[in-house]
């Protein structure tokens, strides 16, 4: 049986035929895209069902987020989001909460909506908007309920006496100097580790984790994705994660596929040499199922977290003189890269600062000198700070870029004022230059670092507007065409799925995202609010709105 999907317009992302009006599908595969009158030869001897539910809509290639973390999301998503920024979640959009009174009001609403005694976990507090936080403030609202208020950065939390009792935290154990302010119920950095170890029975409970992955499944679907990349499988515990993913993200009701990219240094942790890594990673291919697939990809890490200002910067560095950090010694990163480069892998390296990028470029140059490779797909992941000179090197070495463009929206204002100064802060996510240089460039959410909404990422890349409304480095704006390439075909190339998805052409899987408006011709400021009506995964319709 054939299905003929008709649309107001089909955006194919195939440059040879950018637009069409219909797609003909059999068994989840595209037979032909174009005009229905040309498709008659396919339809002569087969039953054809015309699906015109999208006749007034725009069909795009299914969106792809090439870098997010289902396991982290599974921990966070069961919590209640009270955030200064908008988060569109399937079970309800969280309206921005931007002042202390609104924060307390929202907390009170959540408190009243829960059965007595059930712990309440809030995520998204930030002092800039929500004012100073402390135990007494929370207890004035939910005194008897174990309540935990987590900072947006994930690096600190506040909890009530009831929560401490629940977690078995004895205030008498806490001494000065421990990064725990027990009077205010405040646990930060090291103190946070102490708190989390005691909250783990609640936040990592198997049923909670499974529920979190179910929520992730909804988030991914509602964002309009039909493919995602898990860019560090094995972040916590490889076997437990792989099993939970297989249980929750495989099956006929899952409207997307996941490319699993294993965490390289965790893979060989515990006494193995980097050179053993490629064979160990190759052995994972035997676990592949229809939707969950490892490829010959590996994830490695260079410098520290962007949100914590631990990215390694070239001169003149941070204004306050602090330094970022290396997640591995440069020599170790080089050894791991060499092992996978020699074995022909596609290597994805987490780089946040321009010094981290410089180091990784130097290593890539060395690899090219030792063993030249073409079409190797070496990818710089996150790509916070860079220089124009580095763009040329990325191009010359044949590498590609997967950027968290949302940094620009949420952090460029504060990093300009307290961090690195306006010039460099405004030029984070230097994506226009990447496109101009002809580098394969994609954008990602790193969810939960940014909302898993490709249209939102596209909106940031096209408008470069930060959260206070300033346009940062307009010369680096992407066109709507470029930004849509970034979340479809370019993303597919980055995670090794371009042969099956990322564009709409004969022979690919029938993966579509169906929109109410045309993302290439709409007012660019409306991009993030375009209604996602449905996704189609391998020919099957999964309604969204």
């Amino acid at each position: 049986m054939l299905t003929l999907f008709k649309a107001r317009s089909v955006i194919t992302m195939n440059p040879s035929m950018p637009r069409a009006s219909a797609v003909l599908v059999r068994d989840g595969m595209i037979l032909e895209v174009g005009e229905p009158e040309n498709m008659a030869p396919w339809m002569q001897d087969e039953e054809v069902v015309v699906n015109d539910q999208f006749a007034h809509s725009i069909i795009c290639p299914g969106f792809i987020d090439p870098h997010l973390h289902p396991s982290m999301a599974a921990v966070l998503l069961p919590m209640e989001f009270v955030t200064a920024m908008r988060w569109k979640l399937p079970w309800g959009e969280t309206e921005p909460v931007t002042d202390p009174q609104s924060f307390d009001l929202r907390l009170a609403q959540l408190h009243q909506s829960k059965p007595a005694g059930e712990p309440l976990f809030i995520w998204g507090y930030h002092q800039l908007w929500h004012g100073p936080m402390n135990k007494a403030r929370i207890q004035s609202i939910s005194e008897d309920r174990p309540t935990v208020v987590w900072h947006r950065s994930f690096h600190e939390l506040y909890m009530t006496d009831a929560a401490m009792r629940m977690a078995g935290i004895d205030p008498a154990q806490i001494k000065p100097g421990m990064q725990i302010d027990i009077e205010n119920g405040h646990f930060f950095e090291v103190g946070l580790g102490f708190a989390i170890n005691r909250l783990n029975p609640w936040i990592l409970a198997p049923e909670q984790y499974a529920a979190g992955l179910q929520r992730l499944k909804q988030v991914v679907h509602h964002g309009g994705h039909t493919s995602i990349g898990d860019l560090a499988t094995g972040l916590f515990n490889f076997d437990a994660e792989a099993q939970a993913l297989a249980e929750q993200l495989e099956g006929d009701d899952v409207p997307f596929r996941t490319r699993l990219v294993v965490h390289g240094t965790r893979l060989t942790q515990g006494g193995r040499k980097p050179q053993e890594g490629p064979d160990m990673a190759a052995a994972l291919l035997s676990r592949n199922s229809h939707r969950l697939t490892f490829g010959r990809h590996i994830k490695l890490f260079s410098d520290g977290a962007f949100f914590s200002q631990l990215a390694q910067l070239q001169e003149p560095g941070y204004i306050d003189g602090h330094h970022g950090e290396w997640l591995a010694a440069p020599e170790e990163l080089e050894r791991h890269i060499r092992a996978y480069w020699q074995a022909g892998y596609q290597i994805h390296v987490h780089v946040t600062g321009d010094l981290g990028l410089e180091l990784t470029l130097d290593i890539l140059q060395k690899m090219q000198d030792e063993k030249p490779r073409f079409n190797h797909g070496f990818t710089f992941e996150h790509f916070g700070f860079s220089t124009p000179e580095q763009i040329r090197r990325i191009k010359a070495l044949g590498a590609q870029v997967s950027a968290n463009v949302y940094y620009l929206h949420e952090l460029s204002d504060s990093y300009a004022k307290a961090g690195i100064g306006f010039e460099r802060a405004s030029q984070m996510a230097r994506l226009g230059s990447c496109f101009a240089a002809g580098i394969n460039t994609t954008i990602h959410s790193d969810f939960t670092m940014a909302p898993a909404e490709p249209l939102n990422s596209m909106w940031v890349a096209v408008n470069r507007q930060n959260h206070v409304g300033d346009v940062m480095a307009p010369a680096e704006k992407l066109t709507q065409q470029q930004a849509l390439e970034a979340i479809t075909i370019n993303a597919a190339h980055t995670i090794g799925l371009a042969d099956i998805t990322g564009s709409i052409r004969a022979g690919k899987r029938a993966d579509f995202t169906v929109l109410a408006e045309d993302p290439l011709t709409c007012d660019p400021m409306t991009l993030k609010d375009i209604d996602i009506q449905a996704t189609v995964f391998e020919g099957r319709v999964f309604p969204v709105s």
């Binding site: 982290m72 921990v75 950065s153 994930f154 690096h155 154990q173 806490i174 001494k175 100097g177 421990m178 990064q179 725990i180 950095e189 090291v190 946070l192 580790g193 102490f194 989390i196 170890n197 783990n200 936040i203 990592l204 972040l235 916590f236 240094t265 965790r266 060989t268 942790q269 515990g270 006494g271 193995r272 040499k273 980097p274 520290g304 977290a305 949100f307 914590s308 631990l310 390694q312 330094h323 950090e325 290396w326 997640l327 591995a328 010694a329 440069p330 020599e331 170790e332 050894r335 791991h336 010094l355 410089e358 180091l359």
Partner: protein
């Protein structure tokens, strides 16, 4: 099991500086205080040595760690390991940091319920340190590691015997026979202020005192001072400006050497560093390190 915080001694230094070799020596040493838990960093090639460490450790306890950020791994390995150790009858912890860790950050981490940091020992590799300090990627990190050390251990001096560190910091060579006793007994005053004991089974307490030179001394005064040095001072090292020119001072026990500095490179800091030992069970009650140098500073 007492309720005092258990002291944690950090063993830091850049990749290849000899941290694992040192830890292997500690584990094999009969003087290793009973009830010592050793946390080793589990990253890259160090893994191979971890296997070695495990095989050598009969009654010590060794746990592997790996790098982790709280926001990327939900709970970092160090907190988990400390929580595990907190349940066990141990008296002190030796913690090998990652080669890219800044000791001050790990120090902060060891202010953890049930634990308290005691000393940061940092290995300095005579072979590669000069070059690493110039490196555009790790130069500032290696400098921070040296700056944040309470005790520096100079390794691989056989490969580069002429290597000296132009720093007024307590230094001991890795081939020094009293190396392990010095590390086991090292006591930072800041930790003492927090009420941490040096570990019940450690016999002696080691510490350091630094004298910064402000005024030129006569060479005679310097010689007399070194002759009459308190016997509890095990080591003295530094550079002193005298009326007879600049001298490098280097002493172990009662023997000391005074060498005129003739080359053009002047040390950036003038003064002396003393490593002293105060026996906890004998006559040393009331030993005040700053008395050592009272005669030098008018």
């Amino acid at each position: 099991m007492n309720n005092d915080p258990r002291p944690v001694t950090l063993i830091g230094g850049y990749l290849g500086a000899g941290k694992t070799t040192l830890i292997n020596r500690m584990l094999a040493d009969p003087e290793l205080p009973r009830g010592t838990a050793v946390l080793v960093n589990d990253f890259g090639d160090i893994n191979i040595d971890e296997a070695l460490i495990r095989s050598q450790s009969d009654d010590g306890m060794v746990l592997g760690l790996s790098n982790g950020c709280i926001c990327c791994s939900i709970s970092d390995d160090l907190s988990k390991a400390l929580d595990q150790l907190a349940e066990l009858p141990i008296d002190q912890v030796i913690l090998e940091t990652s080669g890219v860790a800044e000791p001050a950050r790990v120090w902060q981490h060891c202010h953890y319920p049930g634990f308290s940091p005691k000393a940061s020992v940092v290995l300095v590799d005579a072979e590669n340190t000069t070059q690493r300090l110039q490196d555009k990627y790790v130069g500032s990190l290696v400098k921070a590691q040296l700056d944040q050390a309470h005790l520096l251990v100079l390794s691989k001096t056989d490969v580069n015997p002429g290597f000296t560190l132009d720093r007024l910091q307590p230094v001991i060579n890795s081939d020094d026979p009293s190396l392990l006793a010095t590390i086991f007994g090292w006591q930072q005053p800041t930790a003492a202020e927090l009420g941490v004991s040096a570990g019940t089974s450690s016999k002696a307490s080691f510490g350091a005192h630094t004298w910064h030179q402000n005024d030129v001394l006569s060479l005679t005064t310097l010689r007399t001072f070194l002759h009459d040095l308190d016997i509890r001072v095990h080591r003295v090292k530094g550079w002193v400006a005298t009326d007879d020119g600049l001298y490098q001072v280097s002493g172990v026990g009662s023997a000391f050497a005074l060498d005129a500095v003739t080359d053009l490179s002047k040390p950036s800091n003038l003064g002396l560093v003393f490593i002293y030992c105060s026996d906890t069970d004998s006559h040393s009650g009331g030993f005040a390190p700053d008395q050592i140098t009272m005669t030098l500073s008018p």
